[in-house]
Amino acid sequence: QELTLWSHWADQTAKVKFVEDAARAFEAAHPGVTIKISWYQKEPLYAALKTALSAGQAPDIFYAETDQTEYMKTGLILDLKDKLNWDAIEPWAQEVWGYDGGVYGFPLEAWTVETYTNEGMLEELGIAIPVDGLEGEAFVEAVKTIAGAGMTPMAQGVGDRPYPGAFLTHEILVKRLGKADYESLLKGEGVEWSDPRVREALEYAKEIIDAGAFPASFSSIKLGEAHRYFHTDPGAAMLQMGSFYPSRAFAAPDAGGQPENFALGIVNGPIPPDAACPQCKTIAVGGSFVVNAASEHPDLAVDFLNSMATPEMGNAWLEANLVQTGIKADPSAITGDKADYFKKLAAANEGVTYTYGIPVQQMHGTARETFTQTVNQAFPAGLIGVDEVIDMMGSSY
């Protein structure tokens, strides 16, 4: 019997190794079974999957992310509700993959949106940001101070991704509206973009942006570059980034990692005035595996996924990839030089309320496209103002 699996992460060796190891272990435990994995980049994978699924040629298991509700909608993937070992999986991760009563994905990778700080630089400028974050004008002042000193306050860029530019606005909106209202805003169900709270939140974000939060090269900085920009050259005070940050930053400095002795801090992002949920944060389920509904060995496929759904595997993932997972794991069990980081991360996430998924994972079609173009890029780049955002987003549903 042969199981086929297509996945993203072709160039992320740690993840590849994790899945390949699991596959080899599974093969050892199930003689006669082979697992054939094709590794792709994300773009090509999506193109290949789209065509292959349309033609009924997709593999048994494949990579998916939570925004791909079309799989569920068209019944192309298997409902795993009664199949997967859900006890080993975080409840929020299960909730994210819920659709119409079923649960569809095995949430291997997960991450939170964090505001990383360059503690050394902040100290030099005499700015202190508590773990719980700065509120209202305090944050704006901090940004102004940093910018005034000729430094870059926040190192984001949108050169190659449809979401990092939106982190600032997104976090502010979450905090201002609270989890439920924010989700209905994004889905276009209930809360409108013309809602005064939205406007206030946007105006607050605009204030930060106008204070010079982002570098001039904001539009061309790519994800990887933003990391380097933040920790090495020329250096920035803050970086709002997914918690996959360390998967790159903890590499050797020669390979683009952060300098030794870099004082990395993690804090809560800016909190808008009148925040409904000052301690709201975002957790996103990233790379997940789903089972093709047309698979010839669905049970075998589920068995394979279950073989990864163990706390040991969860910890192995954490250690190898330095990013969270939907598998229940115990970060405190991690020892060694990364332990410190996981402690900080745990501290930063102490007592927060999670919203699930960043906006592009929750939106569809024109709205998502408009969001990427405006909130993710044009707005933070200072190309458009609050009114345009409201107009364009409002008319995009």
Binding site: W6, A10, D11, Q12, S38, W39, Y40, Q41, K42, E43, P44, A47, A48, K50, T51, A52, S54, A55, G56, Q57, P59, K222, L223, G224, E225, R228, D233, S247, R248, A251, D254, A255, G256
Partner: protein, 289 residues
């Protein structure tokens, strides 16, 4: 500015100063444009010999020491060898088939009159306007039906199909200019139409053939969309995916990307250098004239 037929000293002697001024401006223009055209290439070439750390320190320094070992690393660590040979095999086969099949069709359009010739020609040619991003899906379904999905042969045939119209277009123009007497002479020498195609049309049209070979090789060597969608096995994939791999998600490894780019560019440059004189001749007569 001197013209070809002005090469005589006759024309330029009396107004030396303005002529010198003009030629200085001309040389400046040419130098600037040359820097513009070739500079980027030189820049990547230099970066391909430097490590990312060196590059980040100074993006424009001379590549010293030269890290030729990067090529070896790129070649071995990223499956480049497999990709490279797949690309070579697929492109070679596709270009060979294209040359023959396209040549045959072009020969037919150029030499014979038959009913609906204009319509057929228009049909074949008009489809080159179609965005491949859409047809690829329908094509995918068909490839599965044909049992050619995830096979290099399938990719070869698709490549033939996408380059066929332009190949026919270029060759037809050239074939049409081969004097008809040549074919009549061969007929009288006792050759069948088929033999005439092989022994007269193709050899005589060598310049145009080289043109299409170069163009097709360049375009197919760099083809990306179909290569991604129609091939799933890693050991059947082609080079453009390898190039993309270097600009991976994790790190901006500028130096390594540059090395990968160079590996992808060099074969095409070699093909071009090898055929470039022919290309000129081919252009004179075929293609776009």
């Amino acid at each position: 500015m001197a013209f070809a037929s002005d090469r005589t000293a006759v024309a330029s002697r009396p107004r030396i100063s303005t002529a010198a001024l003009r030629s200085a401006a001309l040389i400046l223009f040419i130098a600037l444009y040359t820097a513009f055209a070739a500079g980027p290439f030189v820049w990547v070439a230099s970066m391909s010999l430097r490590t990312t750390t060196e590059i980040n320190a100074d993006h424009y320094a001379f590549p010293w020491p030269m890290h030729f070992e990067k090529f070896a690393v790129a070649w071995t660590e990223s499956n480049y060898d497999t990709y490279f040979f797949n690309s070579a095999a697929v492109v070679l086969a596709a270009v060979a088939i294209l040359t023959v099949v396209g040549g045959m069709a072009a020969h037919c359009f150029a030499r014979y009159r038959f009913p609906l010739k204009g319509v057929v020609y228009f049909l074949i040619f008009s489809t080159i306007i179609f965005p491949p991003q859409v047809t690829v899906i329908g094509l995918f379904q068909l490839m599965v039906d044909y049992g050619l999905y995830n096979s290099r042969i399938g990719l070869v045939l698709v490549y033939v199909a996408i380059q066929l119209p332009i190949t026919i277009y270029i060759l037809e123009a050239f074939f049409a200019r081969i004097p008809g007497d040549l074919f009549d002479a061969a007929r009288i020498d006792g050759y069948s139409e088929w033999a005439i195609f092989w022994k007269i049309s193709l050899p005589v049209a060598l310049p145009a053939i080289s043109t299409t070979i170069i163009l097709n090789t360049i375009l197919l060597w760099n083809e990306f969309l179909y290569a991604v969608v129609l091939i799933t096995d890693d050991d059947k994939r082609t080079l453009p995916l390898g190039v993309l791999r270097f600009m991976g998600d994790q790190l901006e490894d500028v130096g390594m990307i540059a090395t990968g780019l160079m590996i992808a560019i060099v074969p095409v440059v070699l093909i071009y250098v090898f055929f470039s004189e022919r290309l000129i001749q081919g252009m004179t007569a075929g293609a776009v004239k």
